[in-house]
Amino acid sequence: MTYRIPRILPSEITSPEIFLNRRKVLELGLAGAALGALGPMQALAANLPPAGGKFNAPRNAALSITDKPNSFEDITTYNNFYEFGTDKSDPAVQARDFKPLPWSVTVDGEAEVKGTFAIEDILKPLDLEERIYRLRCVEAWSMVIPWTGFPLAELIKRFKPTSKAKYVEFTTLNDPRRMPGQRYRVLDWPYVEGLRMDEAMHPLTFMAVGVYGQALPNQSGAPIRLVIPWKYGFKGIKSIVRIRFTEMQPRNSWQVAAPNEYGFYANVNPKVDHPRWSQATERRLGGSLLGSRAATLPFNGYAEQVASLYSGMDLRRNF
């Protein structure tokens, strides 16, 4: 099944002037006219593009790899998102009717600024950018994906975490009516992930709201998800509804499910195998049928930037 980009007529698109000034327009008492002009765009956020539209997000070439990205079709039909089924072709089908908007994120724990924030307010002050990262799945395959988003550090700073905040914990939406995969307890819902504070503040750690310049498809973790390019894909928690600053190390879902197979750090490491399969190599998807297997690089190729975060740590024990 392919993801269909909804068609939108040029006449339906609100002009940027009206859109950006919509509050002012309302204040001026032109509510009726403004609502009429906004039309189908009412529900959309300031920084999210209209359906089928594109983000205005320049590429950050310095932090992008130069490999050719996988096709939009590959990226959006081969997903591990157990909230929408455990087969990798399930999410594209089962998430089709999911409505990510309106969306809000609750921030709590060891921070000065807490509360529940609409995604529009989260995005408003941010400059979005595009980054091309390699995604290495713990199942030993990889893709190259052009994400649109912003560094997580930019967001964290606004919440002013206290000195007690040693970790950040993220939680996915828990709503079996909207996420049918949650009706089967394959994991202990809701999905939880975590990062150490220095990992979360690292410039490579990215919050994605788009892929290929358009809003995240539901199956990719709409409307907002985490991307940590040097870690296995399961660390990249999707459809985030809660960010909590903690003193204790969070217990991430896959670690809870199988502590001997999945750890907290989950750094890509060709030298530390999964107990059941090798992590030394990976199938790079999108190439030819033959010869797509390549060596897996330490920290997925980002060792130069991130290895120092783990100096002195036994990566065999902290897998």
Binding site: N70, E73, D74, I75, T77, Y78, Y82, T86, K88, S89, E139, W141, M143, Y184, V186, L187, A257, A258, R276, W277, S278, A280, T281, R283, L285, G286, S288, L289, L290, G291, S292, R293
Partner: protein, 218 residues
């Protein structure tokens, strides 16, 4: 048409065609994935190699279970002639198991024998699967009429290996699943029913024939 004719001209060709369907679909899938044809009824998706490995493996397991269902079906329906397609089913199971390994060895591992041997030696689920494949070889080799005649009673003994092979195949399947065990569980359930039926049937036959063969009662 007598039973022999019906099998030769109808049942066997149909069984062959049905068993070949997955192979044909996979071939079309490969042709589409490599751009030789525009579209195929089987779309191999973003990870075609993995999809092929899985499709071959599942088909092999399906055929193994169908092969194991022939005897219970004969005993339930009294259609003893069903045994005439069993060899074909078994050989197709072997074919798909061999393809499963070949795709892994060639397309996935790029004929890197060192890596493959490392997997077989180090990864228990691959060790188990490879053992099942090796055990299938003597069964395939001794499936000819000449071999059946030559081996006599030993043939049946040898071919009881199929129970162990199915068990190893299912174990291999179960072990490589990440978390959602519903599908392997279903396969194991079917296998348990097929084996349980055999045990139950044997007990019943024994119970029925026991008084007649008891000493002093002729």
């Amino acid at each position: 048409m007598n039973v022999t004719g019906a099998y030769r001209y109808i049942v066997k060709p149909l069984t062959f065609a049905a068993c070949a369907v997955p192979a044909v679909l996979m071939t079309l899938g490969i042709l589409a994935a490599t751009g030789v044809i525009a579209r195929s009824p089987m779309d191999l998706g973003a990870d075609p190699v993995n999809r092929l490995i899985h499709a071959c493996g599942i088909t092999a397991l399906n055929l193994l279970l169908i092969t194991l269902a022939v005897t219970p079906l004969r005993q339930i329906t009294g259609m003893n002639h069903l045994v005439r397609v069993r060899r074909m089913l078994g050989l197709f199971a072997f074919f798909y198991a061999l393809m499963h390994f070949t795709v892994y060895l060639w397309l996935d591992q790029g004929l890197d024998l060192k890596a493959v041997w490392g997997d077989i030696a180090k990864r228990p689920y691959i060790t188990v699967g490879f053992t099942a494949l090796l055990l299938l070889i003597p069964l395939a080799v001794t499936s000819t009429n000449a071999m059946i005649r030559r081996l006599g009673r030993r043939w049946q003994k040898l071919h009881r290996l199929i129970y162990l092979i199915a068990l190893l195949g299912l174990w291999h399947f179960w072990w490589q699943v990440k978390k959602d065990i519903r599908e392997p569980l279903l396969y194991v359930g079917i296998f348990a029913v097929l084996m349980g039926w055999r045990l139950w049937h044997r007990q019943r036959v024994k119970a029925r024939s026991a008084p007649a063969t008891a000493p002093g009662r002729i």
